[in-house]
């Protein structure tokens, strides 16, 4: 039933000299004109956690997909235990002992834990599934990994973290030699991460080679032994984690772009604007079951940061300000003219721009080119009868590709082939091209790499200095604090605090969110 050692007999691994379980040599993969991987080599040793490091678009996902047989390799060699392999499908890779747990758990939510773990390999008795045996086997595996879950419970009842552990249990139950964990910790809290690491350590002791991909450097330093650093589809270096400082690692990952971060620190908080008449005023703006009546004023050239947990109402407020959802109470005035925003189009005509937190569903038009994506909002506001002249088009696109350092710098590339960070830059360009007076950015840096993040932050600071008003929403408090002149804190679908950002610390904000400080009235001197 279970698999799988290499088909053609296992080569005996010499005990002394460690030999990689898997070696990928000079792997290249090309999509159309884009070279996603360029002669990248990776070695995975048994009993090691190997971190794959790099920014978004560095080629980590592509490399994983090459290893798991999702993408065909254009050039290069994969050897497993010294034998050359070519995977034609994910199933073939799995048969060779390579198991993958993806970011989104892909198990069946309404089956039990045991059923999920043994899906497709159910023990049978008299032709039907032997439930008792199945539960017994699942329990044994879970126990072995130190996961405390009743195999008879339905998967759906458990938090994502547990589901993830079940996915891992399932993956190792097929006797994986290599376990690939792609961003396994992105939706876990600290305790859950610790649980995951315990399981990973146990597997490591048993000689499994674990590939770990994560954006969190601290986690990498806690769990990984060796790492391979990629940049722009090329191999930068293979390093032992213990011999590399975090600063060195960041440098290796982003290369020359580190200067951007330095520059940013100097660009940070602009002048404390907030004088004169506000550009935008919301009075009692609210929507049933979405947001309680909220007041907000936005002045020219200031950045208002909105802090709050997921579901606190920060996104909901942004959507009402833009007319993406319609408010059912309150008033919104732009330049003292009261407006009811009935649609995004309305807001755009009032020179408001909004970049949604859900890049993929609400921003990117994947099958159109980078150029078309950039010009979409401008074109929409001109109407279809007045196409943007060829010359203006080319100039705008070229300027913004340069200004935001979008890669590949090819206006005809399809949007869906870009990495997350570059897509985000294109979306930012889409709105800047409309020359807005008010720019609402909801999580503009989520899930993108440090380099792109720094570039976007720097751009926001620069724009505010030029007089643009920005509403900046992010789950990362450091980022909000670094950029904002004024800070709005939200909780439970309402605004609970507003203050000028002079030396507000992350701790302060957390205390406000946790409800440990005074109410709105007596803060803010």
């Amino acid at each position: 039933m279970t698999q799988m050692r290499t088909p053609a007999g296992t080569t005996s691994v010499p005990a002394a000299e460690p030999q990689p379980v898997i070696e990928m040599r000079d792997i290249s993969i090309t999509f159309g004109a884009v070279r996603a991987l360029d002669e990248v080599s990776v070695r995975l040793f048994p009993g090691e956690v190997h971190a794959l490091m790099g920014e978004n678009g560095a080629g980590k996902s592509t490399l994983i997909k090459a290893l798991t047989g999702v993408y065909a390799i254009d050039a290069g060699v994969v050897t497993i235990d010294g034998e050359r392999h070519e995977f034609s499908s994910p199933a073939a890779a799995q048969a060779a002992g390579i198991s993958t747990v993806y970011q989104e758990v892909n198990l069946v939510p309404n089956l039990t834990v045991a059923e999920n773990m043994l899906l497709g390999r159910e023990p049978r008795r008299f032709g039907s599934i032997d439930v008792r045996e199945m539960n017994r086997r699942a329990r044994r595996t879970l126990l072995h990994l130190g996961i405390d879950v009743d195999p008879r419970t339905v998967l759906d009842e458990h938090p994502i973290a547990v589901q993830q552990l079940v996915a891992i249990a399932r993956a190792v139950d097929v006797e994986a030699k290599v376990l690939i964990l792609d961003e396994p910790t992105s939706s876990l809290d600290a305790d859950e991460v610790e649980k995951l690491f315990t399981v990973m350590r146990r597997l490591r002791e048993e000689g499994v080679a674990i590939v770990f991909v994560s954006h969190f450097l601290d986690q990498v330093y806690e769990i990984a032994d060796r790492m391979t650093i990629l940049r722009n589809g090329r191999l930068v270096e293979e390093r032992m984690v213990a011999d590399t400082t975090q600063l060195e690692l960041v440098r290796l990952m982003i290369g020359r772009e580190l200067e951007v971060l330095d520059r940013l620190d100097r660009a940070a908080p602009t002048t404390g604007a907030g004088s004169g008449t506000p550009l935008l005023t919301a009075v009692g703006l609210g929507r049933k079951n979405t947001l309680e009546a909220t007041d907000l004023a936005l002045y020219e050239g200031e950045v208002v940061g909105i802090a709050g947990l997921l579901g606190s109402g920060r996104t909901e407020l942004a959507r009402l300000l833009f007319g993406a959802d319609t408010a059912d109470t309150g008033e919104l005035a732009v330049r003292s003219h009261t407006r009811r925003l009935r649609s995004p189009r309305h807001a755009i005509d009032r020179r408001i721009a909004f970049s949604s937190e859900d890049r993929k569903a609400e921003g990117v038009v994947g099958d159109l080119t980078v150029a078309d994506n950039m010009l979409l909002a401008l074109q929409a506001s001109r109407g279809w009868l007045r196409p943007i002249p060829q010359g203006t088009r080319a100039r705008l696109v070229k300027d913004y590709i340069e200004a935001l350092d979008i890669r590949p710098a090819d206006p005809t590339a399809l949007m869906r082939n870009l990495s997350g960070g570059n897509q985000q830059k294109v979306l930012l360009a889409r709105w800047l091209i409309t020359e807005p007076e008010i720019l609402i950015l909801d999580e503009p840096t989520r899930g993108i790499d440090i380099g792109a993040k720094a570039q976007i932050q720097a751009k926001v600071a620069e724009l505010a200095a030029q007089g643009l008003s920005v509403v900046f929403i992010s789950a990362e408090l450091e980022e909000v604090l670094r950029l904002s002149d004024r800070l709005v804190v939200m909780r439970d679908r309402r605004k609970i605090d507003e203050r000028t950002n002079d030396d507000v610390s992350v701790r302060d904000v957390l205390e406000i969110i946790a409800g440990e400080t005074r109410s709105e009235e007596d803060t803010h001197a």
Partner: protein, 349 residues
Amino acid sequence: MPEPTSLVQRVLRHQLLWPVLALFVLLLVNVVAKPSFLDVRMQDGHLYGNLIDIVRNSAPVMLVALGMTLVIATRGIDLSVGAIAAIAAAVACTRIIGAGDEAALRTAVMAMTYAVVVCIVLGAWNGLLVSVLGIQPIIATLILMVAGRGISMAITDGQITTVNNPWFSDLASGFVLTLPLAFLVAVGMVLFTALLTRRTALGMLIEAVGINPEASRLAGVRARTIIWTVYAFSGLCAGLAGLVIAANTNSVNANSLGLWIELDAILAVVIGGTSLMGGRFSLAGTFVGALFIATLARTIPNIGIPSEVNYLFKAVVVIAVCLLQSPKARALLRVRRSGTPTLANGAPA
């Protein structure tokens, strides 16, 4: 090895390659069955021959498929085109009969204009259901697909109405510059649509709405107006097709005119490479697709397929063409031929 794309590669990758190839093969089959198939001769200043018949007969499907292409690009579908065609024919024919001078040019022009306007209104009705009321396109247009037949029956009192207007019949049987007028009308519409969508921003906005409606809305695209426009345009195209069909027989049978034409049109669109999932569309592809459908209709009698099985034959050919276009199916074929699946240029170890 990022080599510059050569001409051969560009041709091989071109999305029109497969539809054109399929059309070519179909013509070849005909020539094998009947060597004189491609002969075209000049007579009385007009061209005659199978090819000429094919392009003339392709006009209705081409027109309908044209409107359908834009509808499909917005993730929609228009099932009512056959019924709309019947209504157009019914309206035009009854107007011609009812006019004082049945054979006058003015009568024909007025009747056709009237019919086309009615069809635009009907298309706009579809657009209203889809874009404003948010009814699924397949259901929304199904309503008119069924009701439209009833409407055209009511207009003609359930009779087969025959008209006698030489100007009207010219729409189907007339020639201009040696070519059939019907074909020229269809080609003219294709070119007009190409200009309309590609020289303005309409095409890009239609595609944006089809690919990601919510992102388009948030970018300020008036998706509602665009969807409305494409359904109205589809109505217009269907109306023109109905007029061509009616002019061909100088009569209208509300029951059968344009029956199943929506399916031929959808096929033409798909063969032309526009995905039913919406998004990017190819008018050139639709043009070739419509020619393919018309050629196929001609092929069936020419190579002696018995009429009992002609639908079956058509289905088989369509499946073959669709498989040919599917990258997945092509990859499978390739695997079969070469034995191993992957590694285009795996370096020797």
